[in-house]
């Protein structure tokens, strides 16, 4: 399975993503932001980092990179697209996912482990988890505070499009478990068609117990299973 890993000027998790794809048996393919064309790709991944120095707003400039036109077309034709951290911010700016990510409530860049609860397992990105499973993985961002108007938020909740929620040690979505002030403790969401996913925490940095956690593996193994049609 060919999985495009995009790189923007300022991306810094692209190699982690490349490694993650290889680890689950996929064939990662580099795509620079100025490249065109995603023909033959089975999925597209947008990495974390600070594309264009986060100038103006995180993701606002990357959203107009040449490759993004192809990503939008790929997503609209039903191809799976995953944005992690800055990738999530870019997908929101591009209108492929609803809402926006603003400055953390703490005003700080937060680099720490967080706990996530898996809300849905009937998606292409979470099928290898259990509903309600608690995952530990790192987050590293200053703009991860998810915002959407009440109507958008209600449709995300009603349509079961919240995939991951920040939780406390007891597994509850409390303010204590919320690292950045995101509405409804939202850490990761799906688009209406279920083929575009964005999340702020870093599953690609939680792929091996040696590195503290392998709880992120499921995101990539679920994607591979979905591409292979085995779930």
């Amino acid at each position: 399975m060919k999985v495009a890993v995009l790189t923007f000027p300022g991306s810094n998790c692209d190699y982690d993503l490349y490694h993650a794809v290889k680890q689950v048996g996929g064939e990662p393919v580099w795509r620079w932001h100025r490249d065109r064309g995603l023909d033959g790709m089975d999925a597209v991944l947008l990495p974390g980092g600070f594309s264009y120095g986060d100038y103006l707003r995180a993701g606002a400039i990357a959203r107009f990179s040449p490759i993004l036109e192809d990503v939008v077309a790929f997503a609209e034709s039903g191809g799976p697209v995953v944005g992690i951290c800055n990738g999530f911010q870019i997908l929101c700016e591009a209108g492929l996912l609803p809402g926006a990510l603003i400055r953390n409530e703490s005003l700080k860049f937060q680099s720490e482990d967080c706990l996530l609860r898996v809300e849905r397992t009937d998606s292409s990105f979470t099928s290898n988890y259990e509903t309600g499973q608690i995952l530990r993985m790192p987050l590293a961002h200053a703009e991860g505070n998810y915002r959407a108007d009440d109507e958008t938020l209600a449709s995300l909740e009603d349509e079961g499009r919240v995939l991951f929620r920040y939780v406390d040690a007891s597994g509850e979505a409390t303010p204590e478990g919320n690292p950045n002030g995101s509405r409804n403790n939202i850490a990761g969401i799906l688009n209406a068609h279920g083929n575009v996913m964005g999340m702020m925490p870093h599953p690609e940095r939680a792929m091996e117990p040696l590195l503290g956690s392998d709880d992120g593996l499921g995101v990539f193994s679920s994607l591979m299973a979905s591409l292979a049609g085995t779930h």
Binding site: E93, I102, R103, L107, R147, G181
Partner: protein, 85 residues
């Protein structure tokens, strides 16, 4: 064609949490300005461009705001000033 200087103001929408404004508010209180009731932080963007007239310059600026300079989910924008350079 004339050269125009445009000032665009982008501000957090009402009801959107503004953590920077909150921090500055807190700091002003610490400095003794206890009468300060609210602080919101936005940005001013200065654009210079050539256009056939002020109306054309203004509508170009509005398009820039809609497409790139402001995010409608969290921000409002205003083309605050258009003046011939």
């Amino acid at each position: 064609m004339s050269r125009f200087r445009i000032e665009i103001r982008v501000t957090p929408r009402p009801g959107i949490l503004d953590p920077q404004g909150k921090a500055i508010h807190h700091s002003l209180h610490n400095l003794g300005w206890t009468a300060v009731d609210d602080v919101r932080v936005g940005k001013a963007i200065h654009v210079e461009l050539d256009a056939g007239g002020a109306d054309e310059a203004r509508s170009a600026a509005e398009e820039m705001c809609k497409k790139l300079l402001a995010n409608p989910v969290t921000e409002d924008f205003e083309v605050y000033q258009v003046e011939e350079a």
